[in-house]
């Protein structure tokens, strides 16, 4: 998984004296403006369900992209980290289950939820980094399954099968943040924070060293790095975007229950990240958008062509299969392939700049 833009960025790091606003490239302007004005013409459903959900799943998938793409560790526990944060907000904050929920104010409940998610991820990471490849996947899958069954069977803290309902965002600045347009901007804001933090971190010492650990752990140790500590720290960090996503997800549906942290959602996050592409954080959001569109409209589409709507998973599965068959790095990989072939000289086969 090469970082194609590395040397270009390295050059920019040294030679770019422009003000930060001049350095923003055209695609960022275009997409940024479109995302900001979408509420002007989109329906409540599109803002709340399509985009709100895309941003949330994108954030959780970004946490996997960070671990997998930069750290070479494929974890199925990211949805579990998100779920831990979601559950903690319901437990420390307000919900309809007032026998368990403590009703603490949001400025205590939310940071506490994220801290607990990060501690949980540190422990899981500490277990998982001792393994590589398929075994990491198995361990994190086992943890996701264990957490699912635990929440379903534990009634004292997690309220078992029912979970928590009526978990809503705080009324901050007099805004009802669950109202579609407010929720759209809330999720957009945190998605943007996640996206730019991960991008920034990828070129900071921690991120660079993580990529070094991915490419060559033995060499990293011989350069003085503590490989295990670095991997565990990556897990801990990944719990923050996942946790924020988990809290927003809880607010969006107004509830959290074992179904939120089941095996299926855990695998969905993997699918989103892989279909989008693990090479760049934008892949996670592209994958999330595609997933939300399919999940929302596949039923209608299947019924329209005369098939049973229950088969929408089949469509998602087929889409997944096609992308993975055609490209090593999801939709991002397809995109760069396409660009390369457009720039390829038809006679020599060489790629021009």
């Amino acid at each position: 998984m090469a970082l194609a833009d590395t040397s270009a960025q390295a050059r920019a790091r040294r030679a770019d004296d422009r003000v930060w606003i001049e350095r923003i490239t055209a695609p960022y302007w275009v997409i940024g403006v479109i995302l900001l004005i979408i509420p002007a013409f989109a329906s409540d459903f599109v803002m709340f369900q399509i985009f709100g959900w895309t941003f949330i799943l994108g954030m959780i998938a970004t946490s996997l992209m960070f671990l997998g793409g930069y750290g070479g560790m494929v974890s199925l526990a990211q949805m579990t980290f998100a779920g831990v944060a979601g559950y903690m907000v319901a437990i420390f904050g307000d919900s309809a289950i007032d026998t368990i929920s403590m009703g603490w104010p949001w400025f205590i409940a939310i940071p506490l939820a994220l801290i607990i998610a990060a501690i949980f991820a540190t422990v899981i990471g500490w277990l998982a980094v001792r393994t590589v490849g398929i075994y990491t996947i198995m361990i994190t899958l086992a943890i996701a399954a264990a957490f699912f069954y635990f929440t379903r069977q534990n009634y004292d803290i997690f309220n078992g099968f029912q979970g928590f309902n009526s978990v809503f965002p705080p009324r901050l600045f007099g805004v009802d943040w669950r109202q579609p347009m407010a929720f759209y901007y809330l999720t957009l804001f945190w998605a943007a924070v996640t996206y730019f933090s991960v991008l920034y971190l990828s070129r900071a010492p921690f991120g660079l060293a993580l990529q070094g650990v991915r490419d060559n752990p033995r060499r990293m140790a011989a350069l003085g790095f503590n490989v295990t500590a670095h991997r565990v720290a990556a897990y801990a960090f990944s719990a923050i975007p996942a946790g924020i996503g988990g809290i927003l997800l809880t607010w969006q549906s107004g509830q959290i229950s074992p179904g939120t942290v089941g095996i299926q959602p855990a695998i969905d996050i993997l699918i989103i990240a892989v279909v989008g592409g693990l090479g760049h954080p934008v892949g996670a959001f592209i994958g999330a958008f595609l997933y939300v569109i399919l999940k929302t409209f596949a039923v209608d589409f299947l019924i329209a062509v005369g098939l049973s709507g229950d088969r929408f998973q089949l469509l998602i599965g087929l889409g997944f299969l096609l992308v993975v068959l055609w490209s090593e790095d999801g939709l991002l990989g397809l995109w760069s392939k396409l660009r390369a072939s457009r720039h390829r000289d038809p006679l020599t086969g060489e790629v021009r700049e």
């Binding site: 590395t6 900071a204 070094g212 003085g224 670095h230």
Partner: protein, 256 residues
Amino acid sequence: MNALSATGTENALELRGMSKRFGALAALSDIELVVKPGERRAVLGSNGAGKTTLFNCITGDFPPSEGSIRLFGEDVTAFPAQERIRRGLRRTYQISLLFTGLSVIDNIYVACLGVSRGRFSFLRARRNDALVASAEELTQVVNLWDARDTPVSSLSYGQQRQLEIAMALAGAPRFILFDEPAAGLSPTERRELVDILTGLPGHMGYIIIEHDMDVALRVSEYVTMMHNGRIFKEGKPAEIEDDPEVQALYLGGDTA
């Protein structure tokens, strides 16, 4: 950790009774090796003599089966690799272990980072950062300045070997292990390599594994011959060169 134990008056490296077995195979047997600070030592020997295994034990890639390793007076036998590196030990690899996805300067920057406190920093380096400056300086030392933004995957083999050396020089090393740095280099590149090695500051000792006698004898003050996992001769380059046993060994005979 005793700070007094690493004053520099101690031996740079001290191996006592070190052995390494892989199952029934004895890769190293009863190695006794003492290298003084600033000393430049060549380790010679045929394939399978145990030279690289010796390096792997010293850096901590795997633990020795028996014996002890002292670095600058401190017993590091039980230390993980990164702890030995932080005490001033460095090494290069025979098969380049570079970060192929990163550019030349980023490879060296990561190397500089490894022994700095900023390893876990979430903040990006500024342009006037001391680490960036030392990384840029190292690219010049190994003549890679013009290729600094090139991804490692598109470097020539010789340039990759030079980058290996630059990474071993990162962060004020005190003692370096070079594993066949000249292998596969052209005659010109070999001359450059000899210049780089002989141009290192005097306090920087090293051990070099080298098949090319020409290179090995020019960059070292003392030579250790290994055969079948044992040290079988030590001496000055001239003595080793004239030694009939060594000559026999290097001509393919097996008189040891």
